[in-house]
């Protein structure tokens, strides 16, 4: 269980403060919606450790993670764009998730291949990711999120640039990941239909706070 207990943050003294309370269980998908600038990315940055709260606490299974560096947190993020090292091939982009030295062989590579197979990208292992389609690129990013042992996956509008059909496939894949790998998934989305399609819970972010929405 990921738990945010009165996590507060303010970008500058003249901007409105945020105050977040949230609990997300393993194996569930929580959708966050809100207008541009409402603080969705700030929330994800606080969970990922790119920003530190001015007050409040973050817990993962009752262990406090508020002060941990991003790479020490049980969290991995899939962004809307710029997720991948475009000059490297697909396997390298996945294997870097568990070994930053990017080995070309060994157990880490074997594991990356397994994960790529699970997201249907076996055929593209040796391809430069810049040659893949938008949907395939996001699947590589998801594969990297999967190979990491992180309990929490943050999805920062990762499918907003994809066409309807690819987007639908990707949402099914995310649902499958949540069910099979017992990860806690938080997905920021602009589209209420995405939320309806796969989310277990839905919050709307307005005036610096998360407001539960009926499904």
């Amino acid at each position: 269980m990921l738990h945010l207990d009165a996590v507060c943050f303010q970008h500058t003294p003249d901007t409105d403060p945020y105050r977040f309370n949230l609990s997300v269980a393993r194996g569930t998908i929580t959708a966050i919606s809100g207008r541009s600038g409402s603080g969705k990315s700030t929330l994800l940055d606080l969970i990922a450790g790119f920003l530190l709260p001015s007050s409040g606490h973050l817990y993962w299974h009752d262990q406090e993670i508020t002060a941990l560096a991003p790479d020490k947190r049980p969290v991995t993020t899939v962004f809307q764009k710029n997720n991948l090292f475009e000059h490297r091939n697909t396997v390298d982009n996945v294997v870097v998730g568990i070994d930053p030295s990017v080995p070309s062989a060994g157990p880490a590579v074997a594991r990356a291949r397994e994960i790529l197979a699970s997201v249907g990208l076996s055929k593209f292992e040796k391809q430069r990711v810049s040659n893949l389609s938008g949907g395939q690129q996001q699947r590589v990013a998801l594969a990297r999120a999967l190979i990491r042992a992180s309990g929490v996956i943050l999805l920062d509008e990762p499918f907003s640039a994809l066409d309807t059909e690819t987007r639908s496939h990707m949402l099914s894949l995310v649902r499958q990941i949540a069910d099979q790998s017992s990860r806690a998934i938080i997905m920021v989305t602009h589209d209420i239909n995405d939320s309806k399609a796969i989310a277990d819970e839905h919050f709307h972010l307005a005036h610096g706070e998360l407001q539960p929405q009926a499904r």
């Binding site: 940055d45 990922a48 450790g49 790119f50 560096a69 991003p70 790479d71 020490k72 969290v75 991995t76 993020t77 962004f79 809307q80 764009k81 710029n82 997720n83 090292f85 475009e86 000059h87 490297r88 870097v96 998730g97 930053p100 030295s101 990017v102």
Partner: protein, 532 residues
């Protein structure tokens, strides 16, 4: 508005052809010869230019990397602005600053004497001096060019690096080097070309004919040996090599207009050792960059500057330099605007449609301005020198024509490359609206281009003024008692060891350059609220 730019491009091509013709069938020159040692000169120059390029790029990459990671510190903006001046700082002024620092009785040896240390033999003359001076100018240029690439790395990639726990080297290898890699070949060939055709630095710091570049050899063949046949042979060799280098550099041309600096404040979350290393790089390079400029100011202020500035020679040189620089600036701005608007007309589908000839004419336009990168100002001056001998007439008039032409053509490649993408962008953004409102000619210029291109035009004007003010190329051939400019006067004072006078002149030139290049755009640019 296609015609003016095309006509100007045609004139530039004609000028280049005429110059080549003049060099190729020059009457009165008994025979074209290269003389002995030309291959050795080319070999040394290639080695010198290669090492200078390697040194400049290495320092440039390190400094840009450090600056892109440390985005908030007092004086950062001023330091980066100073790095931008590297291309326009008068070469002789910086050379004088470096000699003041590193010469036998320079500041470094004074400091060592104060600390009872050993006296260092001066490294500033000879091969070492050439490398140091080239490194000074080109490392700053490289750092400024690469900083944009480093800063354009998306915030998500920085977050990704932190989230994956990549160390400093892994971040550089996986994210930062790939971000700058595309710019390196173009940057390297440009720096190589600048060092290969270096004149003032090699002339003043070389100290021995064995370090001569082809340009210095041409100068010596004309001025010292008066062997025009040899000068002609060397000039043609220089033109051939220059053309090949320009062809290579345009092949590697990278599109800087696509760079958009990441405006978010996402940072890399560097470790303490990495942060210390970045601070050390910034402090050391800032000191190395600023120290020669401070030396020039300091010596200038300690000289008898009132006597220097009241001297008739100085006043004549200052007036000549400033007037010529102003005329050159005006010509550069007018020509580059005309060519940029022609570019925009040809590159915007809404105007001509996808006409097959458009691509060819665009290439011709680019070629006509870039061509003069292959013709160093000294070779151009030599062409006019031969023309003056053939046609006759007032030597001073020929000097003015040669100097103005060289000044304009020296800046034009940079000016067109800066203005054309902005003009195309403005056209793409406002063409439909302008057509719908029936805005044409001057009305359109007032409403659209004058606002959107203002920043680029001010930048071009300041570059043109400063480069024209500091160039020693053509004046080295045409300079005389009756026709003197500031760089020529400074060179004479340095050559006759009148260091006090040289310091006063250098201080004046440096102040004028910094005022024009840094402060003028700030003052004029404030009125620009439009962003293309």
């Amino acid at each position: 508005m296609l015609l003016p730019g095309l006509l100007l491009a045609g004139m530039l091509l004609l000028l280049a052809a005429g110059l080549l013709y003049q060099l190729a069938i020059q009457p009165g020159v008994e025979s074209i010869s290269l003389g002995t040692g030309v291959l050795r000169t080319i070999g040394w120059t290639t080695l010198q230019a290669s090492l200078s390029t390697l040194l400049s790029l290495s320092i440039g990459v390190l400094l840009a990397w450090a600056l892109s990671h440390r985005r908030h510190f007092f004086g950062r903006g001023v330091f980066i602005a100073l790095l931008s001046t590297a291309l326009v700082l008068p070469t002789l002024v910086v050379v004088l600053g470096l000699v003041t620092l590193l010469g036998r009785s320079g500041w470094l040896n004074d400091l060592l004497a104060l600390l009872n240390g050993p006296e260092l033999s001066p490294v500033i003359f000879g091969f070492g001096g050439i490398l140091i001076a080239h490194g000074y100018f080109n490392a700053s240029f490289a750092a400024r060019s690469l900083l944009g690439r480093f800063e354009a790395i998306p915030s998500q990639q920085k977050k990704l690096a932190r989230s994956l726990g990549l160390n400093t080297w892994q971040r550089f290898k996986l994210i930062e080097f790939p971000a700058i890699a595309a710019s390196l070949p173009a940057l390297a060939t440009t720096i190589f070309l600048l060092c290969f055709t270096s004149f003032s630095i090699v002339l003043t710091l070389g100290g021995s004919p064995k370090y001569n570049t082809l340009e210095v050899s041409i100068y010596e063949a004309i001025k010292l040996d008066f062997n025009l046949g040899r000068a002609l042979g060397l000039a043609l060799t220089q033109l051939g090599i220059g053309a090949v280098l320009v062809a290579i550099s345009t092949r590697f041309k990278s599109d800087n207009s696509l760079i958009a600096t990441d405006q978010t404040d996402a940072h890399w979350g560097d470790s303490l050792p990495a942060r210390l290393c970045q601070w050390a790089l910034i402090v050391v390079f800032a000191m190395l960059f600023i120290a020669p400029l401070i030396a020039v100011f300091s010596d200038g202020l300690h000289s008898d500057y009132r006597a220097i500035y009241l001297n008739r020679d100085f006043q004549q040189a200052a007036v000549t330099s400033i007037v010529l620089a102003l005329i050159s600036t005006f010509l550069v701005v007018i020509i580059s605007i005309a060519m940029a608007i022609s570019f925009a007309t040809l590159a915007t589908n809404s105007r001509l449609g996808k006409h097959p000839a458009a691509t060819i004419v665009i290439r011709l336009l680019s070629f006509s301005s870039a061509l003069f990168l292959a013709i160093p100002s000294l070779v151009l001056g030599f062409g006019f020198f031969l023309l003056a001998r053939t046609i006759g007439g007032s030597y001073t008039v020929w000097s003015v024509i040669a100097l103005l032409t060289a000044n304009v053509l020296m800046v034009l490649p940079f000016a067109v490359v800066t203005l054309a993408p902005a003009a195309v962008k403005a056209a793409n953004r406002y063409d439909k609206l302008a057509f719908a409102l029936g805005l044409n000619g001057l009305a359109r210029w007032r409403m659209i281009e004058s606002a959107l291109l203002r920043r680029e035009i001010i930048y071009i004007a300041s570059i043109a003024f400063c480069m024209s003010l500091g160039d020693l190329g053509v004046i080295a051939l045409f300079g005389s008692q009756d026709f003197i400019t500031l760089p020529w006067l400074l060179y004479q004072k340095m050559g006759s060891y009148r260091t006090q006078d040289a310091a006063g002149i250098a201080c004046f030139m440096l102040t004028l350059t910094i005022l024009v290049f840094l402060i003028l755009p700030m003052l004029l640019g404030r009125r620009n609220h439009a962003t293309p």
